[in-house]
Symmetry: C2
Subunit: 361 residues, 2 copies
């Protein structure tokens, strides 16, 4: 890797999240900001200026122009979900590697179109699920994978909510049926489902059942929902996601011997470290007046923020293809697809009036 | 209260939990250990000796004898649930006030028998849900009742599990259909349901739906289960309880503005203080690289352990009846009954194959 050219990124659109990812591209030490395109040249120009793009970076008044830029290796695509299939396919056809915002697609049929075009064009796809790349995530995985400490995984609960507020609930793209038709399920629910699948090593549940009482807006977009996930071996998970309540980012993973708690899994409270709590074989004092042993907190430092680590990992994979002639890594597309499959099943369960829905792989 | 005679307690049976409550009776400053009865005089005698009973305390070889002791004001009853209705009725008929272990009864019909006899005999009933009496509980309630800080309550999740181990799963009374037929639902599930009802000021849900995949033993006793609870106004709660996994004692209460987390709600990690975490209007830093403001931890000291505060409150109510001629307080029996109603509905939902069950008051 040392001495290699950095991977040159083009940004499609000027979404708020693109500011964070632009900074990450600058920070990752293996990538550089090469271009930005927006339907408005002025917006793209301002974006480049405000977000530390180097003088060499190109500014375009269209997405197409970014894809036509021969110097661009990879694109970061934070477009509304309903536009993903069109622009992801075009990007792949132009041999641009693809860091795609979540939810990756409106349904698995659309995602499969994207995956096929990426594969046939030899481009890397990764969804932009930043927390997967925090070193804390690996440490947490280490704990729940340790059969001696954690035992057998039995139950997971994930909860992700934020209070969008009136303006968000009326105007954000995530509540618009033509832009992000999956609403809260696609936005916050995506993270819940991903965290649950992550905890079980991406073994798909046998079935899902949406909780009663989801909330929709007038256009029929989900603003709050939940579900239970069920595995053949008896594991159970529940999740709850909402645009209506204070920020919650909880994952609890419970095993026969141990417990993991994390309260900021998607966005750590602070940037340079993140913590989680573990308990192992918790018992009680003599008269059951306290716990023995007590849970312990683990603090994991990180030199780079998780989004920069994400960009670095993506760039590493792109570099392997570009410089070493390797094939795209299949892991990330598979994780995207499994997340999508469960999300689709939850949506079907809601649509069918809270029927139990088998998850098809 | 000052200068009043302490309330004189008789203990029915020598269950493990009776040791903790005997200590609490000694500690409460408003009660005294007056008698203990067991089917075995030797066991009762050893219990009295091991648990700091004063020399004046009587030791009996039967439960009846405790109830016939004219000096006994109140009994603590940690008997198996299936014996509650018989012994609670006898106790009330002998005018003994009743601190009754949870679950209070096998079903609401049995509980109503107990409640009627208590009422017609003018005796106080309180269930022995210790955590209700910790000063932390009042502080947490203060937070979630503060509409400015917490907003409107929308979602609750409660999880209570412990790893019983092989001996427990084979031999404990809580897995025996003739002794504690409610199994994990009655034992750990009771606390989940109580915590949820506590959070909503004991407003009964409209309906409950048991989660699929409960685990039973060969005798048909529930060892693990869960449910969702649904209110007319859209509030949702989920809980999970189990005898199979590491100790978890979580309650999360989520409002439009704020969030409450507690991880040791039933038995605090340590005896002399307990903490909880609140977040209020959590947002993010400029580039969404951290939380602003961050959640804050609150530590609540307690001079007496929660079980001693429970005994003190119960003794205060008994003293009001005994010395001031007041009527029994209706609050506690109502809370017991509401908890039982929800527990019964969860059981019915399981029995009917995970049907949605209306909660009848």
């Amino acid at each position: 890797m040392a001495g290699r050219q950095p991977i040159k990124f083009g940004i499609l659109g000027c979404a708020g999240i693109a500011r964070k990812v632009s900074r990450a591209i600058s920070l990752s030490q293996s990538s550089t900001l090469a271009a930005v395109g927006s339907r408005s040249f002025e917006k793209a120009s301002k974006f480049a200026k405000d977000n530390g793009f180097p003088d060499s970076a190109r500014v375009y008044g269209s997405y197409d122009a970014v894809l036509d830029d021969p110097e661009v290796d990879a694109v970061y695509m934070p477009l509304p979900t309903s536009l993903h299939v069109k622009w992801a396919v075009l990007a792949a056809q132009k041999k641009k590697h693809l860091l795609l915002e979540k939810p990756v697609a409106l349904n698995v049929e659309e995602l499969d179109v994207i995956l096929e075009v990426c594969e046939s064009n030899g481009v890397q796809l990764m969804d932009a699920t930043m927390w997967m790349h925090h070193p804390r995530t690996a440490k947490m995985k280490e704990f729940i994978s340790n059969s001696h400490l954690f035992g057998e995984l039995k139950f997971i609960h994930s909860c992700l909510t934020f209070a969008g507020g009136q303006d968000f609930l009326e105007n954000d793209i995530r509540v618009k049926p033509d832009l992000d038709a999956l609403g809260a399920l696609g936005d916050v629910g995506w993270y819940c489902i991903r965290s649950i699948l992550w905890a079980v090593d991406f073994q798909l549940p046998k079935s899902v059942l949406a909780l009663r009482g989801p909330v929709f807006n007038k256009a029929g977009v989900i603003l709050e929902c939940g579900a239970s996930l069920h595995w053949e071996d008896g594991k159970v998970a529940t999740f709850h996601c909402s645009f209506f309540t204070d920020t919650v980012m909880d994952v609890t993973v419970v095993g026969t011997n141990g417990t993991l708690h994390v309260h900021d899994f998607v966005i750590p409270f602070v940037e340079d470290n993140a913590s989680f709590t573990t308990a192992v074989k918790s018992g009680f004092t003599e008269l059951v007046t306290g716990w023995e042993p007590k849970p312990s907190e683990h603090i994991i430092m990180t030199e780079l923020p998780q989004e920069a680590l994400m960009v670095r990992e993506f760039s590493r994979l792109v570099g392997s293809i570009k410089f070493d002639g390797l094939k795209p890594d299949k892991k990330w597309p598979i994780l995207s697809r499994k997340t999508q499959l469960v999300m689709d099943a939850v949506k079907v369960s809601i649509e069918r009036g809270f029927e139990h829905v088998e998850v098809m792989s």
